[in-house]
């Protein structure tokens, strides 16, 4: 009996110590975000830069999938959202869950595939045409395609491309749903000599590390493959936190653009993202189109 009480008391030390320590006047802003964006390190950089001007503000990034990031926001468990899935964002914008949308960066998806390119898509300027060729080759048993299958921003974009091509690969033998993050999906595609839709930063990183010897970029660039990153304020967030979150949004769209312009150059040889400045109208238009897909 004594032992049970002793264990209980010992077990309560850390939780209580944490609770006491946490009431120290810091403002913690929870921001849900997509893992693929978080792992680039850009958001940690943002938290760091913002803290320099606002020492008592800590931005807590919760890296999950795009779908989960928005769902958590709808449940009131985030103050901000950083995502890249316009058609999903649209649903939550329309429901009034997220407001003050700010496009803060963009880059491009690419179609990667085996070097021998059995579907013959290398150098295509249209991703949709590429997908059509992959479908035909797949049906002939000459090509495989690996999908994220996790309702991530990348996965949603892949659906849109299939829909634009007027094709439905679901249920076919050559269409593999990984149900995994971008990195693991790329490794599966590499193992199976399959085609895959990927964001450029994850692909470049894995390629540079020599993990994808069988894959190369076959289709890149173009409006169909643009990847737009947006930040939002969650409407259920209120009080001082909402004020700070608005300041963060403002910062992301202005001063932080200078950092986005160069971020990643050291590691990858070229920046991972493009800043929005000068392209606001074009990006807003593209976002609008993508969100209606």
């Amino acid at each position: 009996m004594f032992l049970a009480i002793l264990l209980l008391l010992l077990g309560l030390i850390y939780p209580i110590a944490y609770y006491v320590k946490s009431n120290n006047g810091e403002i913690r802003i929870v921001a849900t975000t997509t893992t693929s964006l978080y792992v680039t390190g850009l958001l940690d950089k943002l938290a760091e830069e913002f803290k320099e001007e606002h020492p008592n503000v800590i931005i807590d990034f919760v890296p999950v999938g795009s779908g989960e990031a928005l769902r958590r926001a709808a449940n009131g468990d985030a103050c901000m959202v950083f995502v890249h899935a316009p058609s999903l964002e649209r649903v939550y914008v329309d429901r009034g869950v997220i407001v003050n949308g700010t496009i803060f960066a963009y880059n491009y998806f690419v179609i990667a595939g085996p070097s021998n390119d059995p579907a013959g898509i290398k150098g295509f300027s249209s991703a949709v045409e590429g997908f059509k060729r992959i479908y035909v080759a797949g049906e002939r048993g000459q090509a495989l395609f690996v999908s994220r299958g996790d309702l991530s921003g990348t996965h949603v974009r892949e659906w849109i491309l299939w829909r634009k091509a007027g094709l439905n690969p679901n249920g076919t033998k050559w269409y593999i749903e990984a149900g995994a993050g971008m990195g693991k999906t790329l490794l599966i595609a590499n193992e199976k000599n399959a085609y895959v839709l990927t964001d450029i930063s994850t692909f470049t990183k894995f390629k540079l590390e020599g993990r994808l010897p069988n894959l190369e970029i076959l289709v890149a660039g173009g409006d169909e493959l643009i990847n737009i990153y947006s930040a939002y304020l969650v409407r259920s967030c209120d009080g001082i936190k909402a004020e700070v979150a608005k300041e963060i949004l403002e910062f992301v769209g202005t001063d932080f653009q200078e950092i986005i312009k160069i971020f990643g150059s050291d590691e990858f040889g070229s920046p991972l993202f493009n800043p929005v400045s000068g392209n606001e109208k074009y990006l807003a238009m593209r976002w609008e189109e993508l969100s209606n897909e």
Binding site: L3, L10, G11, Y18, T35, I58, N75, D77, G181, E267
Partner: protein, 216 residues
């Protein structure tokens, strides 16, 4: 992106403190619950099989259920526990409770069969018998604590769902490993995994030393 050793140390100690707290808390109520179960034949007959089957429950399921409860839109949202180490402690202590009760119940039952009647005949009161039986099964209790701690250290689903893998706040060994895998830093992920295993082994050794000292 260089992973700082200071950060590794911070994540490691956070992991140990969270899992240790969860294990101690779960052990305290599991001892009482197990003793209560040994006193009631019908309860143990129906409760024990259920608890035994819950030992392997997916951690992500507990994490998800706990998330819906602790979410701001959930019944306990007002506690602001979500995204704190305490939420992970709560989840892990729930996770390992069936495991602890299953083990502790077994050893209490055994020592109750051995000493219970004797103590009763010798005129022990209720509390006295309970204390004796629990003390006699302490060695097994230590072993079950090692197993429970190892399970708490190694779980990922709860830490991800209710902790959120927030840098400097709720990032623990398993969520850090998962994140490094997403980054493609497999070597680093394996190194972190090795540290995790090393720690659970060291804790097992330490607990065994305490057990030896106790039995002396």
């Amino acid at each position: 992106m260089v992973f700082m050793w200071g950060e590794v140390l911070e994540i490691t100690s956070r992991s140990v403190m969270i899992s240790l707290s969860a294990t101690l808390l779960a052990a305290s109520w599991s001892i009482l619950a197990s003793y209560a179960l040994t006193r009631s034949k019908t309860a143990s007959k129906y409760v024990m099989p259920v608890l035994q089957s819950l030992v392997g429950i997916p951690t992500v399921l507990i994490g998800l259920l706990l998330y819906t409860i602790l979410s701001r839109s959930g019944p306990l949202g007002f506690l602001s526990l979500l995204y704190t180490p305490n939420a992970i402690i709560l989840g892990e202590s729930i996770l390992i409770t069936p495991l602890l009760i299953t083990y502790i119940y077994g050893s209490l039952k055994a020592s109750l069969d051995t000493y219970g009647e004797l103590a009763y005949v010798l005129g022990g009161d209720k509390l006295g018998i309970a204390s004796l039986v629990i003390r006699e099964s302490t060695p097994q209790l230590f072993s079950s604590i090692i197993i429970a701690f190892s399970r708490a250290m190694g779980e990922l689903g709860i830490a991800l769902m209710v902790g959120g893998n927030i840098k400097g706040l709720t990032r623990v060994m398993t969520t850090a490993i998962a994140l490094e895998v997403s980054k493609g830093e497999f070597e680093l992920a394996i190194a972190l995994g090795a540290i995790l295993v090393l720690i659970t082994i060291s804790v097992a050794v330490i607990v065994n030393l305490i057990k030896k000292w106790w039995e002396r």
